[in-house]
């Protein structure tokens, strides 16, 4: 027995790593459409990039209205590698928002949120919201003009909550106006509070994924063949071997187990890795070529600076512009209603059908919702950048 095998055996006897590795690497995943399933792992890779670069940024950043901007200005002037780290943190955040959105749209489209995967969807919606909170709170921290006015506007939005609005605003700001406590509170939320919830939630999301197996897409299932004329529905699961974790005795045999599976490692990991490495290279190039901007330090007395929202805040900013003064709370009601609908989705759309073309009652409103957000974004960018 080789020395490495002996070490492996020693570890296995004490930490049961053999079954862990087997479970982690050799799980069955659906074969067809697998490039679409790389969006989840790309989301994870980008979040881990945030974690690593974020940890290292705390080596220089000071959460203070007098020194926060100065510490990042020092980075910009005197530390080329530190600037790249900050650039990676910014650009991977931007791309993360885009990829997690695509991951969500993909899941919506494929109907993967249906029984028994409702909680995969619910934890995913939670992660999406937490990532948005990270993006918004992160935008406050540089305390340049862009950051300051983002902080002012964003913390002012909840003040339009009926009855308790100004209380919520004061709670976030640590007073009536944006100041030193706004920055320390937002820093605490960004580096500790949200990550402390986000990372355990990622573990839960992954554990649920492994529990039920990757659903994939309707094209992998017998259900896809049901309505096609002149095509035979492939044999029922009882007549072919089913790989765990897919159930051997399914509750709904048309949609329980994919027709063809392959091992997660190395087939899916190769696709996942390729997509992720392309994204990491793009992030790195953007970080080096463009980097993270730093405008002049926050100045509340300006009468010449025009605040421009972060691009991911554009749909809400456009709503702020369009909603008349009597209806400003709509700016809170619409996103809150959207989140509630997303959370409720798997409990509303409960039928077994996964084929998106057979689910118009869900796909059409979903497409309109996406269109609404895209149009608001286009209107906002057209207004602000004279496109």
């Amino acid at each position: 027995m080789g020395r490495i095998a002996a070490v492996y055996d020693w570890l296995d006897e004490r930490a049961a790593i053999r079954s862990l590795v087997r479970k982690g690497l050799y799980e069955a995943v659906p074969v067809r459409g697998a490039w679409f399933y790389t969006l989840g792992s790309a989301t994870l890779v980008l979040i881990l990039l945030q974690l690593v670069t974020g940890i290292f940024l705390t080596l220089v950043y000071v959460p203070s209205v007098t020194e926060g901007w100065a510490s990042l200005n020092y980075l910009k002037q005197h530390d080329a590698f530190g600037s790249i780290v900050r650039g990676i943190h910014l650009w991977s955040a931007y791309i993360l928002l885009f990829v997690i959105g695509l991951h969500m749209v993909r899941t919506f489209f494929s109907g993967s949120y249906k029984r028994p995967r409702e909680l995969n969807w619910v934890t995913g919606v939670g992660l999406f919201i937490l990532v948005l909170v990270m993006a918004i709170t992160g935008a406050f921290l540089p305390w340049d003009q862009a950051a300051y006015w983002t902080a002012v506007v964003v913390t002012n939005v909840p003040s339009y909550t009926p009855f308790i609005g100004s209380f919520i605003r004061a709670l976030w700001r640590g007073g009536d106006f944006v100041g030193p406590i706004t920055l320390t509170r937002t820093f605490g939320i960004h580096v500790w509070l949200v990550p402390a919830i986000l990372f355990p939630l990622i573990l839960a999301h992954l554990a649920l994924l492994r529990k039920h197996g990757e659903f994939g897409s309707y094209i992998n299932y017998r259900g896809a063949y049901r309505r096609r004329e002149g095509v035979d529905v492939p044999p029922a699961p009882a007549q072919r071997p089913i790989e765990p974790p897919y159930p051997a005795v399914p509750t709904d045999e048309l949609w329980a187990a994919p027709l063809e599976t392959e091992d997660f490692f190395p087939f899916q990991t190769f696709k996942d890795g390729l997509v992720s490495v392309v994204l990491v290279i793009v992030v790195f190039l953007l970080a080096v070529a463009i980097g993270a901007p730093l405008e002049p330090i926050a100045d509340p007395s300006t009468t010449s600076y025009t605040p421009v929202p972060e691009w991911f805040f554009l749909p809400l900013d456009e709503l702020l512009l369009l909603v008349p003064q009597q209806l400003i709370p709509l700016v809170l009601v619409l996103p809150a209603g959207g989140v509630l609908l997303l959370l409720a989705l798997p409990f509303i759309d409960r039928g077994p059908e996964r084929n998106p073309f057979e689910r118009p009652a869900v796909m059409v409103p979903g497409a309109f919702a996406v269109l609404f957000v895209v149009i608001l974004t286009l209107l906002g960018s057209g207004r602000l950048f004279n496109l």
Binding site: S64, V65, T66, W149, V152, V153, N156, V157, S166, F167, A170, L171, G174, G175, D176, G179, P180, I181, D299, P300, S301, T302, T303, S304, Y305, T306, P307, D317, L320, L321, V323, P324, Q325, I328
Partner: protein, 163 residues
């Protein structure tokens, strides 16, 4: 007389309740100071500070003029924060505006070509008396609490109406 069942806890019930009681004690001992800590800035009364804006005898009629005033930040830092003050003279009356828009608190500016105050974020408009006349702002432009000694303007770090 019926036999009276002794009402005593089983060992299991006792341990069950005890575990919950321990959890409740820890939650309370941690929860009270943490919640108080989060809420404490809400009960912190901002100190009224007066600052001299300057001589306003040169402010022309119906031409809002910008001044900048430095106030101490009301927390632990020694730093100051600069605030913008628009002084408007109409006949012999003075109005003393802040640059804070009542919609989303963006920095309002005087547009002499429009003859109006404009908020660059969402297009809010105020006339020269600070009345909100267009766009989303729900209230007039805020005015500082102020006093005028002769021709010297002083302002306090608070508005006449909360926004």
């Amino acid at each position: 007389m019926a036999h009276r069942e002794p009402r005593r806890l089983s060992r299991r019930q006792f341990a069950f309740l005890g575990t919950q009681a321990v959890g409740a004690v820890v939650t309370l001992l941690l929860g009270i100071p943490i919640v108080g800590f989060i809420l404490s800035p809400l009960f912190h009364r901002q100190q009224a500070v007066w600052r001299q804006v300057g001589d306003i005898s040169g402010v022309p009629d119906r031409q809002p003029t910008k001044f900048e005033v430095s106030f101490p930040l009301d927390e632990w830092t020694n730093a100051n924060v600069n605030l913008a003050v628009y002084v408007v003279k109409i006949n012999s009356n003075y109005l003393v505006f802040s640059n804070v828009c009542t919609h989303m608190q963006c920095p309002v500016r005087w547009q002499s070509d429009l003859g109006q105050f404009l908020c660059p974020c969402h297009g809010g408009l105020y006339d020269i008396t600070g009345t909100n006349i267009g766009g989303p702002p729900p209230k007039p432009l805020p005015q500082y609490v102020h006093r005028i000694d002769g021709t010297t303007l002083f302002i306090q770090n608070s508005f006449t109406e909360s926004i």
